[in-house]
């Protein structure tokens, strides 16, 4: 186990460097790079304030050491990433790290709830569908999963706001923010209810796609496993169908779902960018979106790097979990 861990940790070093390299390429697109700046100036009017952009150029140059040769610049960037020193935001001159630390808990809260719900609902649905393979229920469920999977989340968000957010239809759910104004001062239970109420729509939008995907995957895995010889053996020795499915089949079908967790993370973050900006939720996604809109490079860099690192950690975690759960995988 130790050797495996060590090997896996060594393996992520080139990946880490690669991530820093890609984010480094983005800085090269940023102002300070004269070519990009020219494009920037001609492309949009609001940045035409010359002193402002001059100041930004100087700031960027100093921040990323753009006056130095490229390899040195890259090494400096790597050093900054590993010390989590992402500089200050152009927008309000606050430390990027502080801004992110403020927003991260909200996005994590949303995504943890959403991932939890995805697994909680999808696995029973997938198993149910698989055990009734080729019946009408199974076909309908499969079709439902399929359509849910193909529904663009931003459309669903806008439709839900239209239906429940107080236009011509119903006015039942809040569509703005994650709490009512002043809710922080409320006692715990009303605060929690208010928060839950606010999260219904955004969580729905963040969840249904992953739910559909995972249900389909659970169903497919179950159908695959059910064909195995050991399932026939289990049935032949007279175990109840329930025991066969839950103990023998499901446990083996679960394995690939574990690794999926790591890959859900970047997709979830992409979803957060859209959903948080639609519902005005002050999380990482909205921060990222605003940063892109205002060309706030330090924030963009930091968000890209941090979410890549988080995903890498997730990847590593699920690899290890997989190795722990599946005795067939040799730890070398």
């Amino acid at each position: 186990m130790k050797a495996y861990l060590l090997k896996r940790l060594v393996q992520i070093i080139p990946t880490l460097l690669g991530i820093t390299f890609i984010t480094f390429l983005i800085i090269q697109l940023a102002p300070g790079n004269p070519a990009a700046l020219k494009l920037q100036m001609s492309a949009q009017g609001q940045m035409s304030d010359r002193t402002m952009s001059q100041q930004i150029i100087e700031e960027t140059k100093k921040l990323y050491g753009l006056d130095k040769p490229l390899p040195i610049q890259y090494l400096l960037w790597v050093k900054r990433v590993f010390t989590f020193d992402f500089g200050t935001s152009y927008k309000d001159h606050r430390k990027v790290w502080d801004k992110i630390a403020e927003r991260l808990p909200i996005t994590i809260q949303l995504n943890v709830i959403s991932i939890f719900l995805v697994y909680l609902i999808a696995i029973p649905c997938g198993i149910y569908s698989a055990t009734r393979s080729e019946t009408l229920t199974d076909r309908l469920l499969t079709l439902l999963f399929f359509f849910l999977y193909s529904l663009p989340s931003f459309w669903v968000a806008v439709l839900l706001i239209m239906l429940f957010g107080g236009g011509d239809f119903w006015d039942v759910l809040p569509v703005y923010g994650i709490s009512s104004i002043g809710a922080e001062a409320w006692p715990f239970v009303p605060w929690l209810l208010d928060r839950t109420w606010h999260l219904v729509l955004p969580i729905t939008c963040l969840t249904y796609g992953g739910f559909a995907y995972l249900s389909r995957l659970t169903r497919a895995n179950m159908l695959e496993v059910v064909r195995e010889d050991y399932i026939r053996t289990a049935r032949a020795k007279g175990l109840s169908e329930r025991l066969v499915i839950m103990k023998h089949a499901f446990r083996n079908a679960l394995l690939p779902l574990v690794t999926l967790l790591a890959f859900l993370l970047p997709a979830m973050f992409g979803g957060s960018v859209i959903i948080e900006s639609i519902f005005s939720i002050p999380g990482m996604g909205q921060l990222g979106f605003e940063a892109v809109l205002s060309r706030d490079y330090p924030v963009i860099m930091a968000i890209t790097t941090i979410s890549a690192l988080l995903t890498l950690a997730g990847l590593l975690f699920s690899d290890i979990l997989y190795a722990v759960l599946d005795p067939r995988i040799k730890l070398e």
Binding site: T15, I22, G270, V273, I274
Partner: protein, 347 residues
Amino acid sequence: MEMTGKAPATTPRSYWQMVWHHFKKKRMALAGLWISLLFFLIATAAPLLANGRPLLLGHNGHWFWPVFSGADGIGPYTWKDLKKHAPFVYQSNIQGRGDFAIWPPVPYSPTEYNLLESLAAPTGQHWLGTDDSGRDVLSRMIYGSRISLSVGFVAVGIALVIGILLGALAGYFGRWIDHLISRIIEILLTIPTFFLVIAIIAFLPPSIYNIMVVIGLTGWTGVARFVRAEFLKLKQLDFVMASRALGASHARIIFLHMLPNAMAPVLVSAVFGIAGAILTESSLSFLGFGVPPPTPSWGDILSQSRDYIEFAWWLTVFPGFAIFLSITAYNLVGEGLRDAMDPKLFQ
């Protein structure tokens, strides 16, 4: 195609005939194929379906095809004026002059605005309503299909070229090349792709070509993984050994001998890739990073709808449904192909 259709009892011969044989048995997959063909036709024939100029105008005994000529009017007519006198798809004897006009089914160009009719709900005139500048939503959606499909196809084309090349190199040569390419794939997997795409798009001048290229450049990892896996399997097979023994060059073996045998998973991921690229493009347009105005795109109409969400349901429902339908169609085709190509079914 015709063979299997006429004589279902005969077993199909070639690999692709077998795939088609299995594919057409799935009704949903076929439906997906028809819907994607329909979208393709709509996109191709957009100027004939929605246009602010008449298709055909008979004036003084001469026939004119205004859709294909750039003029703003002919003889006594400007097109806007003509539309008032000839409001129907076919109108004869306009103003008693003996002239006639045939209009496209949607007699509005996607950019032609009329502030007096802004935000009108669907009517007989504007079947899917109008947007905030009074532009016809149906016309904009018809032209929007061109953006979605062209971004989908070109982006996937770019992704295929990169993915096939890198996947083949990694699978064929193995060793350090494989390690290097696998690391690159892993890196791209960890970076939040959608955020990367909007960040890059925001830095570049707005244009449809940048969108195609960026989606293509960030979307090749799936193809590369499939091709790599196929090549790892294929290179163990005798025919590869045989071509090598005959002195075929690496390029010849990779592209002429191995690649045709690895096309099945490539095709499947390409079809899914089109759905993904359409989704990414419409998300970009929805967030305001899409094709520059006034070019219409589905995501752009949907993003407008947010300002009038209290009442303008037609701006939300129709373009969103078009996005959903096209994504679903390609996903259905992809799924049908994947099942049809599953060797387990070829017993």
